[in-house]
């Protein structure tokens, strides 16, 4: 392994090389430090039930843990980032398999898990051809694995569920890990995650403030048109401005392309949210799990990120690409 690859994978000393990284981290810390103030004011002023108050504080405490789990691997190095994304993929798949009942199909679950591990390896190795090949190959393997019980009844269901699970949590979310092959991956990933989570909060706040018309009442009764539009209006310029400082003087660095990126993050993020709402409503569940106090399951928290990852990866890839000048096949090419 040459020094460039080593420094990218493990070089925590480069954590704050980029000003955008510093800016995003400072903003997150400031938000987390200031957040108790509005919570305190609302819980005091409004007539809030003790359960609701506890949920708000649970939610806040969980945010601190989540922020640490996201920020530390990203700052520590690309190796830890890809490891964290791989773990997130596996845990999200686990939740999905448990709520859909796919976890009872051991062969298919095993193939999906192997697929997710290989996606993480391809990202770590910076081996794009393997990364691309893994989707059709894993799908083929799932279709073959579904044959093993020799029971045609339910074949389409178990294979269909397996393919959807791998597509969403292996392949789509895997794009987030692959972005860590860029030398400048820290601000890029922080921007995407920060913007997607903020987009959710904007949608909620705008919906509360001036949302009247229901957006998709059958899928998610609390979503309003006002909330959705408000999130787009607030998130788009935010992403555009920060992205300008990340991709300064590149093909992406013009107002139209930057706004396009912002719209993608906001719109696709909200669709990801609706996708999980649909899955939950189809199953008759409120939350996917009870893992994070105040939030529900990991999927409830990271649903918006799942579809944004491939959209941003290929949008940025069209203009600039990821990992220019970085050594490829770091481990497999030795």
């Amino acid at each position: 392994m040459n020094d460039t690859a080593w420094q990218r994978l493990f070089g925590y000393r480069h954590a704050f090389d980029n000003h955008v990284t510093v800016f995003v981290i400072v903003t997150v810390v400031a938000l987390l430090v200031l957040a108790p103030l509005p919570i305190f004011v609302t819980t005091r002023a409004a007539k809030i039930t003790p359960e609701k108050r506890k949920e708000l504080w649970d939610r806040y405490r969980s945010w601190i843990w989540l922020a640490l789990c996201i920020v530390i691997p990203i700052l520590a190095g690309a190796f830890w980032t890809i490891l964290a994304v791989g773990t997130l993929s596996l845990l999200c798949y686990r939740e999905y398999a448990r709520i859909t009942g796919l976890f009872r199909e051991r062969t298919i679950s095993f193939i999906v898990v192997i697929g997710i591990l290989l996606i993480a390896f391809a990202a770590l190795d910076n081996w794009y051809r393997l990364f691309v090949a893994l989707f059709p190959l894993t799908v083929a393997l799932i279709a073959i694995g579904g044959l093993i019980p020799d029971q045609p009844k339910g074949y389409i269901q178990r294979v269909g569920l397996g393919v959807l699970g791998f597509a969403l949590f292996g392949s789509a979310l895997g794009n987030l890990g692959y972005m860590a092959n860029d030398w400048n991956y820290r601000p890029i990933l922080l921007l995407i995650i920060f913007a997607v989570e903020l987009n959710d909060i904007f949608a909620y706040l705008c919906g509360r403030s001036f949302g009247h018309r229901k957006f998709v009442p059958n899928t998610s009764p609390n979503k309003t048109v006002g909330g959705a539009l408000g999130a787009i209006i607030l998130t788009t310029p935010l992403v555009g401005v920060i992205a300008h400082f990340i991709w300064i003087n590149t093909a992406l660095d013009n107002p139209i392309c930057l706004l396009g990126l912002g719209i993608i993050v906001s719109v696709v993020g909200q669709f990801g949210d609706l996708m999980l709402s649909s899955i939950k409503r189809d199953l008759g569940l409120k939350d996917t799990a009870k893992l994070i106090p105040g939030h529900g399951g990991l999927l409830d928290r990271f649903d918006s990120l799942i579809l944004v990852a491939p959209a941003v990866f290929h949008y940025v890839g069209y203009f600039v690409g990821f990992g220019a000048g970085q050594p490829q096949r770091i481990f497999s090419g030795l």
Binding site: I99, F103, R106, S109, L285, D287, K290
Partner: protein, 238 residues
């Protein structure tokens, strides 16, 4: 077009700590692999350190649901029975373990649930709800339960009278009960010891008993308890 049959895990909505203790728990891929590995290692250990012999293994039903009922002398008992099962049976095998020993703290219950696939039975407060849930699990999930109907380990080495819990699970059902006699586990690891002695262990498996005709009431339960108890007494010669 027929709708898909989507059936979420029965433990959906429980926190991890609640899930380990719940009888609704369903193992996932990793837990199954951990259990297979754990019981394979135990099988090897019992063969080497305790020269474990199993007789009558052919009497085990081909697939679940069934109940393995045995005399209880030691913490090794459930491990011997689990290790004696065929690998394809182990995935559905649930040792029914005392909640106050194996599920007291989250760390211990995590170990009992992940490595042994044990289900908690709270001796002092086991309500009809838990028993109904266990009865359902046995039949619907084609489970294999490992049960010690004495309700605790013998302190003297001689078998104690059986309690009604076993009867409550199998009365009026076609679930066979396989009587199992354990010899040597008391000498290997009696309740007052912490480290096992390398003593020979024998597992004797008897003919499966069916209690479809036994009524699901107090009389039926004691009839089942007596019947299984006498089968095991014959097996171990007590």
């Amino acid at each position: 077009m027929e709708p898909w049959q989507l059936e979420p895990a029965r433990d959906t909505g429980l926190t991890p700590a609640e899930r380990f203790r719940s009888v609704r728990r369903e193992s996932g891929l990793l837990e199954s692999m951990a259990q297979q590995a754990c019981f394979s290692v135990l099988r090897l250990y019992f063969s080497i350190a305790h020269r474990l012999t199993i007789s009558g293994r052919d009497k085990l039903p081909a697939h679940g649901p069934f109940v393995l009922a045995a005399n209880h002398c030691s913490h090794l008992d459930a491990l011997v029975l689990g290790a004696a099962l065929k690998p394809r049976h182990r995935e559905r095998a649930f040792p029914i373990a005392a909640g106050d020993v194996f599920f007291q703290t989250t760390a211990v219950s995590m170990f009992s649930a992940i490595m042994l696939n044990a289900l908690a039975m709270w001796r002092k407060s086991c309500g009809p709800h838990t028993l109904a849930e266990l009865r359902r699990k046995l039949q619907e999930e084609r489970g294999i339960f490992i049960i010690f109907p004495e309700g605790g380990r013998t302190r003297t080495g001689s078998m104690m009278p059986f309690k009604h819990g076993l009867g409550m699970l199998v009365a009026e059902t076609n679930v066979p009960v396989v009587p199992c006699g354990l010899i040597g586990t008391f000498e290997a690891l009696p309740p007052n010891r912490n480290v096992p002695r390398p003593v020979r262990i024998n597992l004797l498996i008897g003919e499966p008993l069916n209690f479809a005709a036994a009524p699901n009431d107090r009389d039926g339960w004691s009839q089942i308890a007596r019947s299984v108890e006498s089968s095991i007494r014959i097996l171990i010669g007590q």
